[in-house]
């Protein structure tokens, strides 16, 4: 993240304005960053879901994406690094009326927060996780993380990343998620639709969004502008709904498999708990 800012123009009310904290704009994201786009897609997906926005709570961890909660005019919680999911678990189980959304980055959710991610999926806690995957830690200046493709350069892997990366949908499916989709910021319409589906799904739903970080990941890997990253996404995305998630890994500058991979039913918490206890869901 840099301190570059963008500005909003015009006084006319945009339909999403009601759900954004206008008094907090301009936002902190760099020009060409994908997070703002995803935030908009989330709000449009939310409006289409028919959920009551007063009953939707968004929880973020730490990082560039972690700042998303702060721009939403919804009940929103900016918590500690990696702990958005357990915070959201408490929120969801304490208040049965809430739809809880975790909006955070790949490093937050899968490195420091990886343990919570797999356990929330295993328990099938009723929540939606939107994971913005920009292949690196943006907030701290572009270090490699658990999703950085092998050989990609970052500020702590200048000669190329020597670690294997997580295939997020595969990890989520193995852990028990009931809804899994992946899109890039080049497919916002599909993304929006998946977000709506995920929001109304009961149980642990995951939408991974591959998103440009031109400032760091892009610059380290000669995809220095948001546009060139978007071009790469457009050229290299291939939609394969229902594909086995084990085949959805992302290689460095390789093909990005997108689509809806998993949409199943499995008993979830807190509904299951209610059935055991004879109390309400």
């Amino acid at each position: 993240m840099t301190t570059t800012t963008s500005t909003t123009t015009g006084a006319r009310q945009h339909p999403l304005d009601e759900y954004l904290r206008a008094d907090r704009l301009p936002h902190i994201w760099c020009p060409g960053c994908g997070i703002g786009l995803i935030l908009n897609a989330f709000l449009r997906g939310l409006l289409k879901s028919g959920l009551d926005p007063d009953k939707v709570a968004v929880v973020s961890g730490i990082g560039c994406t972690g700042r998303a909660a702060g721009y939403l005019k919804l009940d929103s919680f900016h918590t500690t690094h990696g702990r958005a999911i357990p915070f959201a678990t408490g929120l969801r189980l304490a208040n049965p009326e809430l739809k809880v959304v975790v909006f955070s980055g790949d490093g937050d959710l899968l490195a420091i927060g990886g343990n919570h991610f797999i356990h929330a999926a295993r328990r099938n806690i009723d929540m939606t996780v939107i994971c913005v995957n920009n292949f690196n830690y943006g907030m701290t200046g572009g270090q490699f993380g658990p999703t950085t493709p092998p050989t990609a350069r970052t500020t702590t892997s200048r000669m190329g990343n020597t670690e294997a990366s997580f295939n997020i949908p595969y990890l989520a499916e193995a852990s028990g998620a009931v809804y899994i989709a992946r899109w890039t910021t080049a497919q916002v319409t599909h993304l929006e639709k998946s977000i709506t589906e995920a929001l109304v799904k009961k149980g642990f739903s995951l939408v991974e969004v591959v998103s440009p970080c031109p400032t760091y990941y892009g610059r380290s890997n000669r995809l220095a502008t948001g546009l060139s990253l978007m071009q790469y996404y457009r050229d290299s995305s291939i939609t394969r709904h229902g594909i086995s998630t084990r085949n959805a890994a992302i290689d460095f500058n390789g093909q990005i498999t997108v689509g809806k991979f998993v949409d199943i039913y499995r008993p979830y918490l807190p509904d299951l708990r209610g059935r055991y206890n004879g109390t309400s869901a």
Binding site: D54, G70, D75, F77, T79, T80, T89, G90, L93, A94
Partner: protein, 383 residues
């Protein structure tokens, strides 16, 4: 014996179980935890009792998650608690700081065992007392209570919930294996007779509500998620709207208030038990099980003609500085037995400020003090 879901009457139970019952009667309806000796019995009892009273028991994947979950539950509008011991308490530190920053009422119970590290998992210790005060990074104030019996584990758990709602912060119960695993008679009054502090809900509509605008006592009111207030809360330094504000001025204003809301209300927070202090030459200052063991030494010393008093810290944090200073002015020495190598004794020594001597009676843990070791020190300083 019980009014429906709530116990009332006399029971023979362990400190851990009494703590769980105190939580229930205080209105706790969410417990998140991770099994750890010697606090496991609290989780076990809560796993049975929470569903009975319409609450939720969550067994999380670790203590990082447990602490995060109770903060989430509290913002969901429910009173929440976790219980652990040293290793888990260490893992909770970062999110205890988040609880302080988000001003989130909740209760954290530490049934201390002997450390460092895995130490003596089943045996008693009091080595986390300074960690309770300073364990999370940054400046803040906290409230910590130290029960000396199963009865007090019950009573002070209720007090802890009330204080956490009144001052909006995590309140710590610093007990130890010796008390958590002790079985004794406890008396539980009917739940209708128990004084409960309710959540301070906003009294203004959402468009006028500032989530971190303090009242006269420096404590803001708290809307919960899903109530239409659409609030934003962040662990970043924030203004009264809850918005991140990255300046030294905002930091000073916020952190100062987080500290002052405890320090300026010390009078009503601090609870002490005193005995025979007025004409004492020596005062034993202790807490928890060590204060109880000290009674044996005090009685023996009195029989030997030594004028010895007791200052038992029921509230350990905020530290009763003023009272210790006052007492220091008219006694010769404080004797501080604790099951560590000197933590609260440092505070006593600081406040005694050279006016009275402070002599630590340390114990590395695994057992409570032999009263004789305390008596020996009392005799020495009385000479």
């Amino acid at each position: 014996m019980s009014d429906g879901k709530y116990l009332s009457g006399e029971f023979f139970m362990s400190g851990d179980e009494a703590c769980a019952e105190g939580a229930i009667n205080a209105g706790c309806r969410f417990f998140a935890g991770y099994p750890i000796t010697p606090a496991t019995e609290i989780a076990e009892r809560m796993s049975e009792r929470m569903p009975e009273v319409g609450g939720t028991y969550m067994q999380m994947e670790d203590e990082l998650a447990s602490m995060a979950a109770i903060l989430g539950a509290s913002w969901g509008g429910v009173k929440a608690m976790t219980a652990t011991s040293g290793p888990g308490f260490s893992l909770m530190m970062e999110n205890i700081g988040l609880g302080v920053m988000l001003e989130t009422p909740c209760v954290v119970v530490d049934i201390q065992r002997a450390g460092p590290s895995t130490g003596l998992p089943t045996l008693t210790g009091q080595g986390d007392m300074m960690q309770a005060r300073w364990g999370s990074h940054g400046c803040y104030s906290i409230i910590a209570l130290a029960p000396n019996s199963p009865q007090e584990l019950y009573d002070l758990t209720i007090t802890a919930f009330n204080l956490s709602e009144q001052y909006r912060l995590p309140v710590l119960i610093m007990s130890e294996a010796a008390t958590g695993h002790m079985y004794e008679k406890i008396v539980i009054r009917p739940v209708s007779e128990i004084e409960i502090t309710a959540r301070r809900k906003p009294v203004v509509p959402p468009d006028e509500y500032l989530p971190f605008e303090p009242g006269d006592d420096l404590v803001p009111s708290m809307a919960s998620a899903g109530s239409g207030y659409r609030l934003h809360v962040t662990g970043l330094t924030h203004d009264e709207r809850g918005y991140p504000t990255m300046t030294a001025e905002a930091q000073s204003k916020l952190v100062r208030r987080l500290i002052d809301k405890v320090e300026r209300n010390k009078e009503s927070i601090i609870r002490l038990e005193e005995d025979g202090i007025d004409d004492a030459e020596v005062v034993v200052c202790s807490y928890g099980i060590s204060a109880r063991v000290s009674l044996i030494a005090i009685e023996q010393a009195r029989q030997e003609g030594i004028k010895v008093g007791l200052l038992r810290l029921i509230t350990v944090w905020p530290f009763p500085e003023d009272r210790v200073r006052e007492i220091a002015g008219h006694i010769g020495a404080f004797v501080v037995p604790e099951i560590n190598c000197g933590q609260i004794s440092l505070e006593v020594e600081r406040c005694a400020g050279g006016k009275a001597k402070t002599v630590l009676v340390p114990h590395m843990g695994g057992r409570v003090h032999d009263p004789e070791s305390i008596l020996e020190v009392i005799r020495q300083v009385a000479r």
